[in-house]
């Protein structure tokens, strides 16, 4: 559809502003992470460091087991993502392709659970994990994150876009449900699955409150906890190091995005964005 020129200019302005708001903080973080500490405060909104230095990064890796911390964060995010995807996929399949008693009610509970604040369930979960001996363990961080109905909702919506007759065609050919999932459903919704997965991963990667409750020793820390150390350090905020942590935090998601870019683009071209 053609757009008239006034609307055209309006949209473009909104878009460029939004893109700027999205992009600016990243450039800022990158710049600051290479600034010496005094320049940070003297020269706050000037993005390019006057005297670039690697000191913040070197100091960071000396003070904290950053490799271990990155590994912890990665393990948690990966396991959470895989488990959530698996459960969501199976549950969504059941909701879309089966009729069973109480289906509506159970779906209703699932949806309702999306609207329950995490803060409500946090402490009971903490107590359960503690009683299972999982306090200060990354498995204690992982387990409660797995039960999240939003994945069921998202995958359910994608799955329903597959014509029912594809499944019927396979059923009449005596193909089992597990085979149908693997051979037909999975390939067809893979792009959407990828996006959802990456989104889960990033959410878990960013999670602060729950890991901060569970994890006490620096060796079991995740990246957001490390970041927090430099923001609310007792001696005040060590901004340039904090920015260095930010940049480290960003590396893996960025790599992930680049690796899976093809699928992510696929998702949005498949959904009609040319």
């Amino acid at each position: 559809m053609r757009t008239n020129s006034f609307l055209g200019i309006l949209w473009h302005t909104i878009f460029i502003l939004t893109v700027f708001i999205l992009i600016f903080p990243i450039i800022f973080a990158l710049g600051t992470s290479f600034k010496p500490l005094q320049e940070v405060y003297n020269n706050v909104l000037n993005i390019i460091p006057i005297a670039p230095t690697f000191d913040n990064y070197i100091g960071l890796f000396e003070r904290l087991p950053m490799i271990q911390i990155t590994m912890n964060t990665f393990t948690i995010a990966t396991v959470v993502t895989i488990m959530k995807m698996l459960i969501s996929f199976l549950a969504a399949y059941a909701f879309v392709y089966f009729d069973f008693k109480g289906k509506k009610f159970i779906y209703f509970i699932f949806i309702a659970s999306i609207f329950i604040p995490f803060t409500v369930t946090m402490i009971p979960n903490y107590l359960i994990m503690s009683s299972w001996g999982l306090a200060d363990s990354i498995f204690g961080v992982i387990l409660p994150q797995i039960s999240d109905a939003i994945g069921i909702l998202l995958i359910n919506q994608t799955m329903r876009s597959i014509p029912f007759s594809l499944i019927e065609s396979a059923r009449i050919d005596n193909i089992s449900h597990s085979r149908i999932m693997i051979d037909i459903i999975l390939p067809l919704i893979r792009p959407q699955l990828m996006s959802t997965g990456i989104w889960f991963f990033v959410n878990s990667w960013n999670e602060f409150v729950w890991p901060s409750l569970m994890l006490k020793s620096v060796d079991s820390y995740t990246l957001p906890l490390a970041l927090q150390m430099f923001i609310s350090a007792e001696g005040g905020t060590d901004l340039s190091v904090a920015m260095a942590v930010s940049i480290v935090t960003m590396i893996i998601p960025l790599l992930l995005y680049l690796v899976f870019q093809k699928y992510i683009i696929g998702t949005f071209t498949a959904s009609g964005i040319k």
Binding site: E168, R171, I172, N174
Partner: protein, 361 residues
């Protein structure tokens, strides 16, 4: 019996009954058409045979076995879906062989069946393409091929030609016919298109509102409709239907009359009906500007070009009657003579809407 049999079958979704009580025998190896307007239950019947819909009451037999509880995959049924239901991420070849491969048919056998169906349906150039790179007609053939390679006893087709344009339908029908000649499956073919039904069916089961209206050969469905619904549903333009009063060897239609021959007089007088309906197909009305024997008079409303013939819409006895003509020279409001061909009259009992039958048949 072999073949398929519906015995007192009922189908309801909650409180909505689609089919009340259906009895129907489909012979082994025949091409049966399930025909009817949308919502008549024909697709539901096909889906019950396929095992996609549970039977609410009654029994369904396939090859003499009661299959009410037999799952789809165990019924040895092949099906062509209306939207073809091709797997979009597989090539034509993968689509065709997928079911065989997963059911562990051995490789030589898969190759044999694939080669055979590819040859019959001329699919060679398209085997490596995905559905999105195929035209509508090519997709339809791939869907057909996927069903054929199963070599099942039962072959179900759900409006398989409805997404094709007119030219392609003719050739697709021919291909289907070939397939049936080769494999002699029991074919059940759902359509709402009467031309498809007439040309492809050995027998037609005409459905309306979940009830079987008529089950017979295309010839009989066309020439000997058992009720008004059948007479009007089959044929385009549809059969003309007029109320008539029988009076001493004559049909009084509006304020005109038509004299029956003796065979019809005997037949009508022998029937139990009291009120009658007169039916005649447009192609069985002769029209003329000059008087015709035993004809009714009517006024031309307008003429519709149908290509090879013209449909003349005539105002006659307070209803609209259509007659076919090779000429288009009929003027609006002109009074013409309309002569029903005596051998092609249909008489129905107005109360039951059923045909009173035909003399000497």
């Amino acid at each position: 019996m072999k073949g398929i049999e519906f015995k007192n079958v009922k189908k309801a979704y909650g409180d909505t009954t689609i089919i009340e009580n259906l009895n129907l025998k489909i012979h082994e190896g025949e091409r049966l058409i399930l025909l009817g307007p949308s919502g008549c239950g024909k697709s539901t019947m096909l889906r019950m045979i396929a095992g996609f819909e549970k039977i609410t009451d009654g029994d369904l037999y396939m090859n003499a076995n009661m299959v009410n509880e037999v799952p789809s995959g165990k019924r040895n049924v092949a099906m062509v879906f209306q939207n073809y239901a091709l797997y979009p991420h597989m090539t034509a070849e993968e689509n065709i062989t997928y079911g065989l491969r997963r059911n562990k048919v051995n490789k030589q056998e898969i190759k044999r069946r694939l080669d055979s169906v590819v040859e019959t349906l001329l699919l060679e150039p398209y085997l490596k393409r995905k559905p999105k790179d195929l035209s509508g007609g090519q997709r339809q053939r791939v869907a057909l091929a996927r069903a054929v390679v199963k070599e099942s006893n039962f072959f179900l087709l759900d409006e398989p030609l409805s997404n094709l344009d007119a030219q392609l339908r003719v050739s697709a029908r021919k291909e289907l016919m070939n397939i049936h000649h080769t494999f002699k499956q029991t074919m059940v073919y759902v359509t709402h298109d009467q031309i498809e039904a007439m040309t492809f069916g050995e027998r037609i089961a005409l459905m309306n509102k979940g009830e079987l209206q008529m089950l017979d050969t295309p010839e009989n469905v066309y020439n000997r409709p058992v009720n008004i619904f059948t007479a009007k549903f089959i044929g385009s333009p549809p059969t003309n239907i007029m109320d008539m009063v029988y009076d001493n060897g004559k049909a009084i239609i509006g304020n005109q009359s038509f004299t029956f021959d003796t065979k019809w007089v005997k037949h009508i007088e022998a029937s139990n009906a009291t009120d009658f309906v007169f039916g005649i197909r447009p192609e069985h009305l002769q029209i003329s500007k000059s008087p015709l024997e035993n004809a009714l008079k009517g006024k031309v409303k307008y003429v519709e070009n149908q290509g090879d013939q013209y449909a003349v819409f005539i105002d006659m006895a307070n209803s609209e009657v259509i007659a076919m003509s090779n000429s288009k020279d009929w003027n609006t409001d002109e009074v013409i003579f309309v002569q029903p061909m005596a051998d092609h009259i249909h008489i129905f009992d107005k109360a039951t809407t059923n045909s009173i039958g035909y003399p000497g048949v």
